[in-house]
């Protein structure tokens, strides 16, 4: 009796092939929607693209400047450097003066900077 009631409203599921096709179609439509959004980008996307390009350029320039192997640029740099060294700039002089003054005002002696390690070397194991 109970079995009859349960099976009376039962409808067999669609075939597996159909269910798979339905799922694939759903995923396809979702992807198509996302891609169409990217194909006609908003201003935010364009800005991101520009920023990315700028970051690439800055990174590349920074790496170029930091590289020690500047064999072709070295002669050019050598030509320019002595000019700067022969007449110290105002900032260099100010920096040197400030460094000199801060060293003069540092009153910490070497006995404080390099205080000896405190090690108890009494291994007699006697009651103190």
């Amino acid at each position: 009796m109970e079995t009859e009631i349960l099976t009376s409203n039962y409808q067999p599921p669609p075939p597996f092939k159909d269910r798979l096709a339905q799922k694939v179609a759903a995923i396809k439509s979702k992807l198509a929607l996302a891609v169409s959004g990217l194909k006609s980008p908003k201003s935010l996307t364009i800005i991101t693209l520009v920023i990315a390009a700028v970051v690439v350029m800055i990174s590349f320039m920074a790496l170029q400047n930091r590289s020690p192997k500047t064999s072709e640029r070295a002669p050019q740099a050598e030509v320019q450097v002595p000019k700067v060294n022969s007449t110290p700039t105002v900032s260099t002089i100010n920096q040197n003066v400030n460094q000199f003054i801060s060293k003069l005002e540092d009153n910490q002696g070497f006995t404080q900077k390099l205080s000896k390690p405190i090690v108890d070397l009494d291994l007699s194991f006697q009651k103190e």
């Binding site: 980008p41 693209l49 920074a62 390099l114 291994l123």
Partner: protein, 272 residues
């Protein structure tokens, strides 16, 4: 209206390249910062690390020592032996790190007029480190608590008779070297600033500035020479903290004279 103005692959390409470059740049910068640590900074951080390690060992040693003094059993003696071994090994490592730090401080100073003194002081620090390396070997070979007690007594004697006076003598030399370095810096800056004669309002201002500088130079020369004289007459084998403080006091006198140049230098630097 054309829809494929900005192809998806192009956006992805740019974003990926940007991320890769940003990562490479960050890595490069971080590496530079890490590699920029000077030998002195490395020695300082090593000493700090060894100090913290020693504090941990010291605590375990104190507990084992207390237990052995209270119970006097074979088990507590064995425990005292193993922790004492650990304690002396770590103490030796700490001393080695300390002498390396003292040596690096010396390397960071300007010894242009006393390079032979610098070499001699560096050698004494190396000798001290070598002694503690030998101590570590002796500790490893020790079989009983009595062996370790003897090693500890030997360390104590060597420190008191040899390494401590040598270290204090080294520190006294550092005090003087740093004072001389400042004196040379003063001369160099005074020359550079005095060279720009056109910066001063008129020749009398320059002359008055120069006479003040000359006075500072004369007085600081006397003061630094007096410090050198004190150090030359110091008994190298019996130097203690008091003697280092004496040299520091003499160098402080030089620094006080040189400090008079502060307003003069700042004034000239503004005009430069």
């Amino acid at each position: 209206m054309p829809r494929n103005q900005y192809p998806v692959s192009c956006i992805k390409y740019f974003v990926s390249i940007a991320l890769v470059f940003a990562a490479v740049y960050l890595l490069h910068t971080t590496n530079n910062v890490l590699l920029a640590a000077s030998p002195l900074e490395t020695a300082q951080s090593d000493y700090n690390f060894q100090s913290s390690q020693f504090r941990n060992v010291k605590e375990r040693f104190a507990n084992a020592k207390a237990a052995y003094i209270s119970f006097k059993t074979a088990a507590s003696k064995d425990q005292a032996f193993s922790t004492s071994k650990e304690y002396l090994t770590q103490a030796s490592t700490l001393y080695i790190a300390y002498y390396a730090l003292v040596k690096e401080y010396g390397n960071s100073l300007d010894w242009s007029d006393k390079s032979d003194v610098h070499t001699k002081l560096a050698t004494t620090m190396d000798d001290a480190s070598t002694y503690f390396l030998q101590v570590k070997d002796a500790v490893t070979r020790a079989q009983t608590l009595e062996d370790l007690t003897k090693i500890a007594a030997d360390i104590d004697k060597n420190l008191k008779d040899k390494f401590d006076p040598q270290t204090y003598y080294t520190l006294a030399n550092y005090e003087l070297a740093s004072g001389k370095q400042l004196y040379r810096q003063f001369l160099e800056l005074a020359q550079k600033l005095g060279e720009s004669k056109q910066s001063f309002a008129n020749s009398s201002t320059l002359l008055n500035w120069q006479t003040e500088i000359d006075d500072i130079k004369a007085k600081s020369t006397i003061s630094i020479n007096s410090a050198q004289d004190q150090l030359d007459h110091m008994p190298q084998t019996r130097v203690n903290t008091g003697e280092v403080e004496q040299i520091k006091k003499a160098v402080d006198g030089t620094k006080k004279e040189l400090l008079r140049a502060k307003p003069l230098f700042l004034e000239a630097a503004k005009l430069f």
